[in-house]
């Protein structure tokens, strides 16, 4: 008898409509992402109502495409996993209701997945997880350090007290007149600077793993404002590099300290900002020095996708976790362990 398990994943928490099929929680069989970036660009950020409208247009198309890529029929699937939260409420509702309807139509088990658990489990599609493990989840919506004793056990040991790192990137990019989304542009510009502006490092209290990026963001805005007032020329690459150096140093520093204190076997990074070259290089270099294995998934698995939801959903499926037809989208969903 074939023991392989196939889980369909669906993700619509922000501006990507995505569906994927994952085998045994570790192997991508199909991965489809319909990005809306072009639609939101002219507004300088994601407009929730427009995101929701696009999700309805795309949802059955991406699921069909995933099945086609996998050369599978719904009867071959074992479960449907969907992002239950956190995210934009209207956007989540499309994925959740599509998942419920699909699961009902084919009488399949339904599993609601936390988006951040998905980001963490994206790693498992490329590299088996070793516990205890530390995960750095860093994206447009999140900046969190999560400690995992074992599969399905999540302890948030640090999180942002204000803006997510990716939000700060977008805001700074806007003041530098860089197009949306700004992260990759800042990263690229930063590498061309020979004289980074010395912006402050925000460490907060000595013993905390929490982050704060709004002070740094204000420092950048003030710097720009004062320079304009004095009629001084501002080199955007110096501002970009100064800002990025500050983010990278603090994020790397806290992640290193947490990895040492919690004596972890492995450190993984995830989320869109984890694809940032400056941050990636710094983390890789420091963890190599320390001798702790550090992994970061390839770019398409760092940004939002449904394979990560199917990967996390697969582990939940094996643990017997099920949702029912009353599942709702939960925009402010807290992270909780599965055990």
């Amino acid at each position: 008898m074939n023991k392989d398990r196939y889980v369909l994943g669906i993700e619509t928490s922000c501006d990507e409509t995505a569906a994927s099929i994952v085998k045994n929680g570790t192997e991508i069989v199909a991965n489809v992402v319909a990005s809306q970036i072009e639609s939101h660009k002219r507004f300088g950020g994601v407009v929730p109502e427009i995101a929701s409208r696009h999700h309805v247009e795309q949802i059955t198309i991406v699921i069909e495409e995933a099945l086609k890529q996998a050369e599978m029929v719904p009867e071959q699937l074992h479960a449907v996993a969907v992002t239950e939260g956190p995210g934009l409420v209207g956007a989540l509702l499309v994925g959740v209701n599509a998942a419920k309807a699909f699961a009902f139509a084919h009488q399949l088990p339904l599993i609601g997945v936390h988006h951040i658990a998905g980001h963490i489990y994206a790693n498992r599609l490329e590299q088996e997880m070793q516990f205890p493990l530390l995960a750095l989840v860093i994206s447009g919506g999140h900046t969190e350090l999560i400690y995992m004793k074992e599969h399905g056990s999540f302890e948030v040991i640090g999180e942002t007290r204000d803006d997510a790192a990716g939000e700060a990137y977008d805001k700074v990019a806007r003041t530098l007149n860089l197009p949306y989304p700004g992260g990759p542009h800042i990263d690229r510009l930063a590498h061309t600077s020979s004289n980074p502006v010395p912006f402050p490092r925000v460490w907060l209290e000595e013993d905390t793993y929490d982050f704060s990026f709004s002070g740094l963001k204000s420092a950048v805005l003030n710097y720009m404002h004062n320079a304009t007032q004095r009629g001084e020329e501002v080199l955007p690459e110096d501002v970009a590099a100064g800002f990025q150096n500050s983010v990278v140093e603090v994020v790397t520093g806290k992640t290193l300290r947490a990895a040492e204190e919690y004596k972890v076997q492995q450190v993984i990074a995830a989320g869109g900002v984890a694809a940032n070259k400056g941050l990636r290089n710094s983390l890789e270099k420091e963890f190599k020095k320390l001798g702790i294995p550090f992994y970061i998934p390839s770019l398409p698995l760092c940004t939002d996708n449904a394979a990560m939801i199917a990967a996390a959903g697969s582990v939940m499926f094996e643990k017997g976790i099920r949702s029912n037809m009353a599942m709702n989208g939960r925009p402010g969903m807290e992270m909780s362990s599965w055990i």
Binding site: V47, R53, V56, G90, N97, A101, H106, A326
Partner: protein, 231 residues
């Protein structure tokens, strides 16, 4: 033919199952509970009662809007996903026409009303008896719309929960040509939806999208700002 009908376009929820020309079961609730939470459990429960399995369904009918953006999207997402998953035809009917069907035998014009704030409404006008469209669905300043209705010189039946919101303006402009449907005839009924759906062509599921009748605020502001620049 076994058809499932779903209308979640405003706060009431209505679902029904019909076999050929017989309505098997219908449920209407007006409890203002989140459709995302209740619609699928209600469908599951109703189908269990009627002893109909998902695979037994042959058609899906859905109210396509206008209405609450989120409400319409929930119904449509469920309907299109079910239709696509089960490989059965999807039929879409105006949510306003479904409401108008509450006054089907009125001798005159039927005007369904969904309040859209700031004196505006989603509305339209249908012919009593045939339910033919007299004035196409639209988002409009409601007083302006009433003036158009008045000019038709016919009795008008106002229906829908939100007709009450605009009662004063209606009486003011329409005078004694205005009639109001009774409270029990103001909620949308999925059984009407199913019967109306039988007169429509099936929709290509992948292209089935809500009929919002209004662009988003962000787009409206963007268009305004573009205009400003071009002057």
């Amino acid at each position: 033919m076994i058809c499932l009908g779903i209308d979640t376009s405003n706060s009431p929820l209505s679902i029904a199952l019909a076999k050929d020309q017989t309505v098997l079961i219908e449920e209407i609730s007006n409890l203002k509970i989140n459709h995302s939470l209740t619609a699928m459990p209600a469908i599951e429960e109703m189908m269990k009662k009627a002893n109909v399995m998902p695979a037994d369904l042959t058609h899906i009918a859905v109210a396509q809007g206008p209405g609450s953006y989120t409400g319409v999207r929930i119904g449509l997402t469920i309907a299109k996903t079910l239709a696509w998953s089960l490989k059965i035809p999807l039929h879409m009917v105006s949510s306003l026409k479904v409401l108008a069907a509450n006054g089907q035998y009125f001798d005159g014009i039927i005007c369904p009303v969904m309040d859209a704030r700031r004196g505006t409404a989603f509305t339209g006008a249908y012919r009593g008896g045939t339910l033919e469209e007299v004035i196409a669905d639209r988002h409009s300043d409601f007083k302006d719309f009433l003036k158009i209705l008045k000019s038709l010189n016919e009795p008008v039946l106002f229906t829908g929960e939100d007709a009450a919101v605009h009662e004063k303006a209606i009486r003011e402009i329409m005078g004694d040509t205005a009639f109001f449907s009774a409270p029990q005839n103001r909620l949308p009924r999925a059984s009407h939806l199913i019967m109306l759906a039988q007169q429509t062509e099936a929709k290509d599921v992948h292209f089935a999208v809500p009929e919002y009748q209004r662009i988003t605020e962000a787009e409206a502001n963007y268009l305004k700002s573009q205009d400003g620049q071009s002057i």
